[in-house]
């Protein structure tokens, strides 16, 4: 994508990002609570649970590491976190036409707040002439705050709160992603160039779920989908 007009990062953009993500952030609070409850369940202290949300800010990576927290070695723990988070590399690369117009310190600061929902919002906005990277950073800030608040509440009342799954919170993430996918397909369906990578990714994800370590099926599906998308480009 050729980005010609000026890219900047400003407080106004940050506020715009915060506004755009605010409603979704409200939904993130109970999700953070679910993590807090699960963390306490896994034998983690409330302080550690909140520290995880502050420093990692990644539901997938945090939930994945909970499984191994009390049993696995530090190295395997870090590798699982890397595997689950590898998709952030793809998200960052997708935003690079815009983000890389900033200088490195600004860029490294803005990307601290990169997560799935504000990635989706920002990518869509940048493709529609948004020029302020604050949109990404501000969106992330409000999601981060909601994630930390939710985790704190969940961790503190973890023992008595009960199971959030019965409130349907566990399907929040796949529901949102399914909606985002459909939104993208509705606005820009490119025939085989769209469905072939998607079908490939789905197959690799399901097969990988059974034969690969946790998280690697997502990485494998992304790589496979990308390769297929590249192979069939322009044909």
């Amino acid at each position: 994508m050729q980005v010609t007009s000026e890219i900047l990062i400003s407080a106004r953009g940050v506020r715009r990002g915060m506004r755009k993500m605010f409603a979704l952030a409200l939904f993130i609070v109970p999700y953070g609570m679910a993590f807090g409850v699960a963390a306490i369940d896994s034998g983690m202290s409330a302080t550690h649970a909140v520290a995880m949300s502050v420093f990692m800010f990644s539901g997938a990576a945090q939930f994945a590491s909970l499984d191994l927290w009390s049993s696995a070695s530090v190295v395997s723990l870090l590798l699982v976190v890397l595997a689950v988070s590898a998709r952030f590399i793809l998200l960052g690369a997708s935003l690079s036409p815009w983000v890389n117009k900033l200088n490195r310190p600004q860029r490294l600061a803005a990307l601290t707040m990169l997560s799935d929902p504000n990635f989706a919002d920002s990518l869509n906005a940048f493709q529609n002439h948004e020029r302020d990277i604050g949109r990404l950073f501000g969106g992330g800030l409000v999601l981060w705050a909601a994630w930390i608040i939710g985790t704190t509440v969940g961790a503190v009342i973890g023992e008595t709160f009960g199971d959030l799954e019965r409130f349907g919170i566990d399907v929040l993430m796949p529901s949102y992603f399914a909606a985002l996918l459909l939104a993208g397909w509705l606005s820009e369906w490119q025939g085989r160039q769209t469905w072939l990578p998607a079908v490939t990714a789905a197959l690799v994800a399901v097969i990988g779920l059974h034969v690969l370590p946790p998280g690697w099926n997502i990485v494998g599906a992304a790589v496979a989908g990308g390769v297929v998308g590249g192979l069939f480009h322009g044909r």
Partner: protein, 100 residues
């Protein structure tokens, strides 16, 4: 990981790993020219990640999860709004938990 301080240290390490993945994508792209094919690859990759997560959740989940995601999809087609679609999925899952 009993000692509180070492636990905290490991959490910070995990945070650094996640942050490294957040910045690696954009840093890598500084080294390459963005060709149309590369853009096609990136685009396919970005949506493939979402496809993979949704499909994995459905494959790992039961009928309740699959139904909820399907309702979210249908709601999206009807209202063209991710927030409403998401709510549709969550409410469906909550209701099916409640009645089962």
């Amino acid at each position: 990981m009993d000692a509180s301080l070492s636990g905290f240290f490991i959490i910070v390490l995990m945070g650094l790993v996640v942050y490294a993945t957040r910045i690696t994508g954009s840093e890598l792209m500084n080294l390459f020219e963005l060709t149309p094919r590369l853009k096609a690859i990136l685009k396919a990759m970005a949506s493939s990640v979402l496809v993979a997560i949704v499909v994995s959740e459905c494959a790992r989940g039961d009928l309740r999860v699959i139904t909820a995601v399907a309702v979210a999809g249908i709601t999206m087609l009807a209202f063209k709004n991710p927030l409403i679609a998401m709510s549709g999925g969550v409410i469906t899952a909550a209701v099916s938990s409640f009645i089962s």
